[in-house]
């Protein structure tokens, strides 16, 4: 059974969101997602400063057998990216909620996170496949 920390929010497309100080949110992919993709071999990151619409594809994680887009869960500007992933994409496999974070976003509007799932709801989604 995959690890689904209770203090994070999730999306239907398997990203997680962590609230950081000053309204910044950190984004990564869930343990369940990294497990089903398998060993990651490459991560394509957005440029810092890029502004994203909610639901816009902005990064790609790639394994040997699959490639999957990462979507911006909310309208936001990219304020930081995890440059370590360029050399070590396996960090996402090893520590999806920690050293495997993908990017940090500054949402453009407050309270735009209404469509997000709780850990409990995401658990149900992940269990359904």
């Amino acid at each position: 059974m995959s690890n689904i920390p209770a203090d994070l929010k999730y999306t239907r497309s398997h990203e997680w969101l962590k609230s950081l100080p000053e309204g910044i949110v950190e984004i990564g992919i869930s343990d369940h997602a990294q497990e089903s993709l398998g060993d990651l071999v490459f991560v394509e990151l957005p440029e810092v400063g890029r502004s994203l619409a909610a639901g816009e594809a902005c990064a790609v994680v790639e394994s040997v057998k699959a490639a999957s887009d990462i979507y911006a869960p909310v309208a936001a500007t990219v304020v930081a990216i995890n440059v370590q992933l360029a050399e070590a994409p396996e960090l996402i496999n090893q520590d999806p909620y920690g050293r495997g974070w993908i990017m940090r976003l500054k949402p453009t509007a407050q309270g735009a996170d209404s469509g997000l799932l709780s850990a409990h709801d995401y658990q149900a989604l992940a269990a359904a496949g």
Binding site: V41, K65, A66, A67, D69
Partner: protein, 465 residues
């Protein structure tokens, strides 16, 4: 039954195992009204002997002309070892190396091919080949739009001195995706692009500049200046090159201060027969930073579970069978067998052999141009020498002259009237290392003859007035 080995006993036993009364019963899920009753319009079968007699007769009808046409497909000597080796069943009748353990021969050959092409073009990575040179240019333009993140315009500058078929294919394949193509003219007397002509694009968002070297007229572009011009404007440079010429000409990776970004071309000169247009192979090489935007198969070295070195298809997440609608291209295969021909050709020729082929072709073309322009009605369209092709201008329409030459078994070149009407009565000629001085003299004398009756007619008219 040709190629179907079943005996009557086999068939009976197989139907019994299936539990079907007849072969016809196996098609019972196809609606009856759709079932085909007869195959009119198809001839009866022939034995191998009969079909070989037919094909030999058809081949004889085509004959063996003396060919001075180039224009993107070139007659070079092909070592006998090339086709005798690659038509071994193990290469000829295998498929794409999906099962790596059972395909190390094909995979290692591709790795060697990638290495040779990267070095020849001065780039860091190569794919396993594309369909042909023309589609490789189209794919390079689409790739440039993905790779050039600084450009939003999807605007590609195509020289008018690019092979006109490459231009046509690029438009047909890329316009559906909304790319914008602007034409860069050539200098009328010099036959190549100039920086002056590019000035109208200053300040524009340009995704890539295509440079063909040597260009369609066989002439040299000022590749260093053009490359630097493009890079100064954040545009990528797509080099379109003849692989044989690269034995002598600067590798695209060394063009200008930073080198070209994507290199493509027609691989046919490397061991592939002319064969009425195919199969050939397109090649594509690039910088490592763009490898994930490259279309087509790529082979990489790795190790097996015991640590033994081996090869497998890699970076497959770019491809249609994984990324489906988001793939870099819909291409599945490469031109495996032709790429093998290219690899064997390069292995046999080596750098020195390739230099000799290039130098001999250049020299034969110079000899041809000298011989033909000695005829008073023939002159060079452009003042400069080029690689192994040249544009000549006649004093009258080219088509009837070529027809007269064809009757004498000489294919005198390509009539440019439809492609470049502004060049008047011009034709593109080519000679490679396969042509002897006697061949060239025969062409010159036939051309001189073909041009004579009109001169006689003209003088008759002159007398009459």
């Amino acid at each position: 039954m040709p190629f179907i080995p079943h005996t009557d006993d086999d068939e009976r036993e197989m139907l019994a195992a299936i539990g079907a009364p007849s072969i016809e019963a196996l098609f019972d899920e196809i609606p009856a009204n759709l079932r085909l009753q007869s195959l009119e319009g198809l001839p009866s079968g022939l034995s191998e002997m009969e079909v070989m007699q037919l094909m030999a007769a058809r081949a004889r009808a085509d004959g063996r002309a003396s060919c001075f046409i180039g224009a993107g497909a070139y007659e070079h000597h092909i070592p006998a070892a090339v086709w005798s080796t690659i038509t071994r069943g193990e290469f000829y009748s295998a498929y794409t190396p999906y099962q790596a353990e059972a395909s190390q021969g094909t995979l290692q050959s591709i790795y060697e091919y990638q290495s040779m092409m990267a070095s020849l073009t001065g780039m860091q990575v190569s794919n396993a080949s594309l369909y042909d040179g023309a589609t490789a240019v189209a794919e390079a333009c689409l790739m440039a739009v993905r790779a050039n993140r600084r450009s939003k315009a999807a605007r590609i500058l195509l020289p008018r001195s690019l092979h006109p078929h490459y231009r046509a294919v690029t438009l047909a394949m890329a316009l559906n995706q909304g790319l914008i193509f602007d034409t860069v003219p050539y200098v009328r007397d010099a036959g190549h692009m100039s920086l002056d002509a590019l000035a109208v694009h200053d300040g524009q968002d340009i995704t890539a500049l295509v440079i063909q070297q040597p260009n369609f007229f066989g002439l040299f572009e000022q590749v260093d200046a053009l490359t630097d011009w493009a890079h100064a404007r954040d545009a990528l440079v797509i080099a379109v090159v003849n692989p044989i010429s690269l034995a002598l000409l600067k590798a695209p990776g060394a063009w200008g201060a930073k080198g070209a970004d994507i290199v493509v071309g027609e691989g046919q000169p490397l061991g592939c027969p002319l064969s009425s247009g195919g199969p050939y192979f397109g090649f594509m090489t690039t910088r490592m930073q763009h490898v994930r935007q490259m279309p087509g198969r790529i082979v990489g070295g790795t190790v097996d579970v015991d640590g033994r070195p081996g090869f497998s298809l890699t970076l497959q997440a770019r491809e249609q069978h994984i990324r489906r609608a988001k793939a870099t291209s819909n291409i599945c295969t490469n031109q495996g067998l032709l790429m093998m021909a290219g690899t064997l050709y390069l292995a046999l020729m080596g750098a020195e052999g390739l230099e000799r082929v290039a130098a001999a072709s250049m020299a034969r073309t110079a000899e041809l141009v000298t011989a033909l322009t000695a005829i008073p009605q023939v002159r060079r369209a452009f003042a400069r020498p080029g690689f192994h092709e040249a544009v000549l201008t006649l004093d009258r329409p080219v088509a009837p002259v070529l027809a007269a030459l064809a009757q004498r078994g000489i294919q005198g070149g390509l009539d440019l009237a439809d492609y470049y009407p502004e060049l008047g009565h011009s034709l593109l000629v080519c000679a490679t290392e396969t042509k002897s001085s006697a061949d060239i003299e025969a062409y010159a004398s036939a051309l001189s003859e073909a041009l004579r009756p009109a001169r006689a007619a003209a003088s008759t008219r002159a007398l009459g007035t």
